[in-house]
């Protein structure tokens, strides 16, 4: 499938939304001193980013993601093609007041401390002194550097540098946030917080462009992604379109008795061959497990490093305006019940990459599964979440539960 075709197909759903970034026929060729082409970093790329979406640039190292980001920011000039950010050239100075940028490394002044760093960047946005200081305080608290306010950035660990880098990217309450590998160097708690922040920004109608090669980052927060390889877009679309495996189905329930399980299997075997059925215990991901362990440990120990960030800075969360429950519900519902993609717009990603490993039903294993094993509190919490069925829409109670969890993560509703 060609890139242009994808653009047309995926652009249909939200065509009414304001285009924040438009990229057409973008190419970048790096040349040597004598003007001879050395590397084609980006090759004839087209995509659009719309207001309020979290857009992922995904790809292996050297695939052209960062080069694209730097052209969007006016730090590199395109060899060919056209870029518009908020309807202007990337070099348009006034437009930059609406953009926040976190580079892939800590490119901050090592001789400034956290507060001075934010003060400096606040001045570049011509913020008044009171606003500057207020935002700096909230951001430092948000990224968990309250204990390191007067330490020089040069003395920070990599993770702490990412945190202050993130803070500077948000000092202007940007409409467009461009994050290049935002979770690189962060501990799992920091990663979670960054992802929560991205979601919070999107809830306020901010547009986020996330460049990453960490698939989990992108999968957790992005609405749409492009996948780069060799400077070209290999796939482009919503995660729902790209990831849904329409060839199989998963039913999750609380532990069932052996008899019940046998009955269910018998019914399924009427329609499906034995070798196509797989049954196992769902596992939570390592991130959730880790966060649970640290959450418990935090109650009994202290640390001198970066602490877990506070809640999202008030001005970023809408200056005290609590996100409306309707908006939260709508967003969650949208995520859980997004319309199934048509065959034509399905992903160009090979399906076997996302399929669970196939295995036939093993009777001894079935014995093991039908016994209720002892579980940890975190597992228990995870296990008691509502059963997820892939096809039908979730019940209102399920949505409310998930919505509460999301709200507590964002610090919006406690």
């Amino acid at each position: 499938m060609t890139t242009s075709t994808q653009t047309q197909q995926t652009g249909g759903a939200n065509s009414a939304a304001e285009t924040v970034v438009a990229v057409r026929g973008l190419s970048k060729v790096f040349k040597d001193f004598w003007g001879r082409p050395k590397a084609r970093a980006v090759d004839n790329v087209d995509f659009e980013v719309r207001k309020g979406e979290v857009f992922g640039l995904l790809g292996p190292n050297g695939s052209g993601k960062s080069t694209t980001v730097k052209m969007l920011l006016g730090l590199l000039n395109p060899t060919k093609g056209h870029i518009e950010v908020f309807g202007h050239s990337p070099r348009h100075v006034a437009t930059k007041a609406r953009i926040g940028y976190l580079p892939e490394e800590s490119y901050l002044y090592r001789y400034l401390d956290s507060a001075e760093t934010l003060e400096f960047f606040g001045n570049l946005f011509q913020l008044g002194s009171s606003e500057r200081q207020k935002r700096a305080e909230q951001l430092i608290d948000m990224v968990g550097l309250s204990n390191a306010r007067t330490r020089l950035v040069g003395e920070f660990s990599k993770g702490m540098q990412r945190r202050i880098g993130l803070a500077q990217a948000l000092i202007n309450d940007p409409d467009l946030v461009i994050l290049d590998e935002p979770t690189a160097g962060l501990d799992p708690i920091g990663c979670r917080e960054v992802k929560d922040l991205i979601v919070a920004l999107a809830k306020r109608g901010k547009t986020v462009i996330l460049s990453s090669h960490l698939l989990a980052d992108v999968e957790d927060v992005c609405d749409r992604v492009v996948i780069y390889y060799g400077g070209k877009i290999q796939a482009y679309g919503t995660l729902q379109e790209l990831l849904t495996n329409r060839d199989s189905m998963r039913i999750t329930t609380p532990p069932l008795s052996r008899e019940t399980t046998e009955k269910v299997l018998a019914i399924i075997r009427q329609d499906v061959n034995e070798d196509k059925i797989r049954i196992d215990n769902p596992t939570q991901n390592l991130e959730s497990y880790f966060l649970g362990v640290v959450q418990r440990a935090r109650q009994s120990a202290e640390t001198s490093g970066a602490t877990s960030g506070g809640k999202v800075a008030a001005y970023l969360a809408g200056e005290g305006e609590a996100p409306s429950p309707e908006a939260q519900t709508a967003r969650l519902l949208e995520r859980l019940t997004a319309p199934a993609a048509t065959e034509e717009s399905a992903s160009a990603i090979p399906t076997q990459g996302t399929k669970p490993a196939e295995s036939s039903v093993d009777v001894s294993r079935l014995d093991l599964l039908t016994k209720s094993p002892p579980v940890s509190p975190v597992q228990a919490a995870s296990a008691t979440t509502s059963p997820i069925v892939s096809s039908p829409a979730p019940s209102a109670e399920e949505v409310a539960k998930a919505n509460d969890k999301l709200s507590s993560l964002l610090g919006g509703k406690k």
Binding site: S66, L73, L75, L108, Y109, L112, L124, S130, E137, L152
Partner: protein
């Protein structure tokens, strides 16, 4: 903010009632600092001010030679103190209230302090609980549009302090000021000591600050680009030219601070040393060095007109036209005509007539100095040559006659009694060569009349201003190189530009002689005409640029007590900063604007 309204921080008295403190700059504290401090009960700052003023008034001011300088210093100090008190006044007030147990309630917009309190008392107020508004760092006089430039300039300062560069440079400058007098050799006279001291310290300060400026200027931009901090800065709403100008202003202000501290140290050190000298030696210094003297010279003869006429006549002769080209003939003719004005053969005399013009009335009532220097065509062992100098209206008793031996290649200064000019305001002098060798009095500095124009203090400030202009130019050179080159290459190119600037003499002689590789001794013709055809115009162009900055010699002027006029200083500012600096700034900003800031890293 609504029209006419101001921000006030409101504090609640635990015993009842409210007090309001204005937010922002406190003009009363700035204009009458110690009176304000006493009135408001800030005894600490008031005490510091009083002690400082007492030291100036009771210790330094009574020293007669320091009076004008102390006055200037107090004026400068008043500006600094005023700004400090203006920014800190209201925060001090707020801190003091809190120390007395008042509780901060918040900041409110109101027409006056009283109405702000009323609003809070009646509960009709929306208070912003942001105490940091009443901190000194929140007070600024910088307009909003200049905020990004000021932030970048301040960043340059912060880097200089955090990397201890400021202190290292200051230490080196202080070593220059304090150690040099102990190690340099002079002619044993106070005048010689002061002249050498001024020359060496000011020159060394210029060189030290010049190289550090080039280094810093190349580094601050090139390294910001190489280390990628610029990628973050350039994505903020600040134009590239603003970044460039911010760096330029920051570096220039840094130089201004260092130059001011070092210059003030030199100045007070010299005056302090002079204050311990006997009265007559002090008088010599006050007349000849610690003064700003104007200079009057004979008008320069119209060499060009004479040369053009004679060359045209000679070229009409076929044998001349056949044997020598026009440029060579012109050079030879010019030297011959110049020699007529400069050379005094043994037994001959040279006369100078200097018109005092509109200064006649004033200068007839002042002591004047004659200053002259000559070269001997054939030097003797002692390098002393006899001559008679007669100054004043001839055939009158007022004429001054000096019959003695004079050293060649040395400036001689002779004080004259008042009223030496004739009734037309012309002061005539004659030098009769009684030695056995030819004497050469150059047109530029062979003979001149010096008179007091103003005091040493203002002249010293003007001299330092010209040096400051050079440093600003060097900052522009370094930044321009750093705008498109990597740090080491930029440093190399900047030093090369500096060397071209310093080799103005070589450029001058190439342009005057019209040849780069020189002329054949036998024929007098250039060795390689094609090289000269290309290089001489280039050198001529370079010389024009270099002379924009080199036309000023503040160190020479200060060490010889010559006046650097306000006009001359203004010209230096316009020429050096405006023209030369501006040219480098345009080149640098253009290169920086065009540069792909993420190129290095992206390419790697």
């Amino acid at each position: 903010m609504a029209e006419g309204k101001h921000k006030f921080g409101v504090f609640e008295d635990p015993a009842g009632g409210f007090r309001a403190v204005p937010v922002g700059f406190n003009w009363a504290a700035a204009l009458i600092p110690w009176i304000w401090a006493v009135a408001k009960g800030h005894w600490g700052p008031a005490l510091v001010l009083v002690v400082l003023d007492l030291i100036l008034a009771l210790v330094l001011f009574p020293i007669a030679d320091l009076q004008s300088s102390v006055t200037v210093f107090r004026a400068v100090l008043a500006v600094g103190v005023g700004y400090y008190f203006g920014t800190h006044g209201n925060p001090w007030q707020a801190d003091r209230l809190e120390a007395r147990g008042f509780k901060f309630r918040g900041v409110i917009e109101a027409l006056s302090a009283g109405s702000s309190v009323d609003l809070v008392r009646t509960g009709n107020a929306t208070l912003v609980r942001h105490r940091a508004l009443l901190s000194a760092s929140a007070v600024t006089l910088v307009p909003k549009s200049l905020q990004p430039i000021a932030a970048i300039a301040a960043l340059t300062w912060k880097a200089a302090f955090r990397f201890r560069l400021f202190w290292v440079l200051l230490f080196l400058l202080m070593v220059t000021v304090t150690v040099l007098p102990a190690v340099i050799k002079d002619d044993g006279t106070p005048r010689g000591f002061v002249q050498i001291m001024l020359t060496y310290t000011l020159s060394l300060m210029t060189v030290l600050l010049g190289f550090s400026t080039l280094w810093l200027a190349c580094g601050t931009l090139a390294r910001d680009i190489e280390e990628c901090q610029m990628q973050v800065v350039a994505t903020k709403p600040v134009a590239r030219w603003q970044i460039w100008m911010g760096k330029w202003i920051g570096l220039s202000l840094l130089n201004l601070a260092l130059l001011s501290i070092a210059g003030a140290s030199v100045y007070f050190f010299l005056l302090y040393r002079a204050s311990g000298l006997p009265a007559e030696q002090r008088a010599v210094l006050n007349n000849e060095i610690f003064v700003a003297r104007g200079s009057l010279k004979e008008p320069m003869p119209d060499l060009k007109g004479d040369v053009d006429r004679i060359v045209a006549e000679r070229m009409k002769l076929p044998e001349v036209a056949a044997s020598v080209d026009r440029a060579t003939l012109r050079m030879m003719t010019e030297n011959q005509i110049k020699a007529r004005h400069q050379v005094v053969m043994p037994g001959f005399l040279r006369q100078w007539k200097i018109d005092l013009g509109f200064l006649q009335d004033r200068l007839n009532k002042e002591q004047l100095f004659v200053r002259f220097k000559f070269f001997a065509a054939q030097t003797n062992e002692a390098n002393l040559y006899r001559g008679v100098l007669k100054i004043g209206p001839s055939e009158t008793p007022r004429v001054q006659k000096f019959d003695r031996t004079f050293a060649a290649e040395t400036f001689h200064e002779i004080p004259l009694p008042m009223g030496m000019a004739d009734e037309k305001g012309v002061l005539t002098a004659e030098f009769h060569n009684l030695s056995d060798t030819t004497m050469i009095f150059q047109l530029e500095d062979g003979y001149e009349l010096l008179y007091r124009e103003s005091g040493f203090g203002p002249n010293f400030v003007r001299g330092l201003t010209v040096i400051f202009c050079w440093l600003v130019l060097l900052a522009a050179v370094g930044l321009a190189a750093g705008s498109f080159l990597s740090f080491p290459v930029a440093a190399l190119v900047s030093v090369a530009v500096l060397l071209v600037g310093l080799s103005g003499g070589t450029l001058q002689s190439v342009v005057e002689e019209g040849t780069v590789l020189g002329a054949d001794h036998d024929t007098g013709k250039p060795i390689n005409k094609s090289v000269d055809a290309v290089m001489v115009p280039i050198f001529r162009g370079l010389l024009v640029v270099v002379n924009v900055a080199r036309d000023f010699s503040p160190v020479d002027s200060l060490s010889s007590g010559r006046s650097i006029t306000w006009l001359s200083m203004g010209t230096a500012v316009v020429q050096i900063i405006g023209l030369a600096g501006g040219m480098f700034a345009v080149v640098g900003i253009y290169a920086f604007h065009r540069r792909e800031l993420a190129r290095t890293q992206a390419a790697s």
